[in-house]
């Protein structure tokens, strides 16, 4: 049954001290190359492809409330195990080795809560546990 995202968590395995109030966690955006195999003799009217051997785990993007009391994000931390825990009954997890590749700091303006965005690179396989 589809649900909203309320209850989803994102946890850093090593830099556990940094734990802001997340608004959203998006991802991963996995991609896998397609190797074209068609040639001059290919028939059928379509190009043909084979999958690349390896996939790219892509990235997760997390938006969070910026609160100075949470400290500065782990923008130069080493690779570590990162786990996204979903809000389904079984609390399905997506665990991967990753590191921060981007931090868009908050826009400090009147009349709006401060928010920031973190981009996390997936550095290997994603282990999904239902």
């Amino acid at each position: 049954m589809p649900k909203t995202g309320l209850g989803t968590t994102l946890g850093f395995g090593t830099t556990v001290a940094w734990s802001p109030d997340y608004l959203s966690v998006a991802g991963p955006n996995v991609s896998r190359g397609a190797l074209q195999t068609s040639h001059l003799g290919t028939s059928g009217g379509y190009h043909t492809f084979d999958p690349n051997d390896l996939a790219d785990g892509g990235e997760y993007t997390a938006e969070f409330f910026w609160d100075e009391a949470d400290g500065f994000p782990p923008v130069i931390a080493a690779k570590e195990t990162i786990t996204v825990t979903n809000n389904d009954t079984g609390a399905a997890t997506e665990a991967f080795s990753g590191f921060v590749t981007g931090f868009d700091g908050p826009t400090r303006t009147i009349g709006s809560l401060k928010m920031a965005t973190l981009t996390i690179k997936v550095a290997g396989a994603i282990t999904f546990t239902a």
């Binding site: 989803t8 109030d21 997340y22 959203s24 409330f65 009349g111 809560l113």
Partner: protein
């Protein structure tokens, strides 16, 4: 109930408390409703119009946005306006209260006040403005 906090701030400001009705019916500053037997010639009423709670993926967080309507009543439009100006002088921006992050004037019926046609003195005039108040609240704790 941030409008009650604003009421208390205004009541605690002598320049406003003593200005309302020249102090005759002090404090003359109310939350939600003025008394039924109100004999004030001037009074202020603060009302919560709407409130937006803020949420993260973990649930409700401890800051809320509330729209508070501030109505200043007086027997002349000029006095209603100048009464509001004292309020603006006290709470617009950062009122300096631990529970309030910011207090911004965002709109209202603050048109240029003019006397009723014919100069009749049978009306009570209202000068009304809305405040957008970001304030801190406790986080829900009874959930499972």
């Amino acid at each position: 109930m941030i409008h009650k906090t604003l009421r208390d701030i205004l009541r605690g400001t002598a320049a406003i408390r003593d200005r309302v009705d020249n102090g005759a019916n002090s404090p003359g500053i109310y939350a939600d409703n003025a008394p039924r037997n109100n004999t004030c010639k001037e009074y202020i009423v603060l009302s919560d119009v709407s409130a937006n709670h803020s949420y993260s993926l973990s649930g409700e967080i401890g800051i809320r946005e509330t729209i508070v309507q501030c109505d200043c009543y007086a027997e002349t439009p000029e006095r209603a306006y100048t009464l509001f100006e004292l309020i603006r002088d006290r709470i617009s921006g950062n009122p300096g209260h631990a529970d309030i992050d910011s207090c911004l004037i965002i709109g209202g019926l603050g048109a240029d006040p003019t006397p009723a046609k014919g100069g009749q003195n049978t009306w009570v005039y209202r000068y009304s403005k809305d405040f957008q108040v970001f304030h801190f609240e406790t986080i829900p704790s009874l959930g499972v």
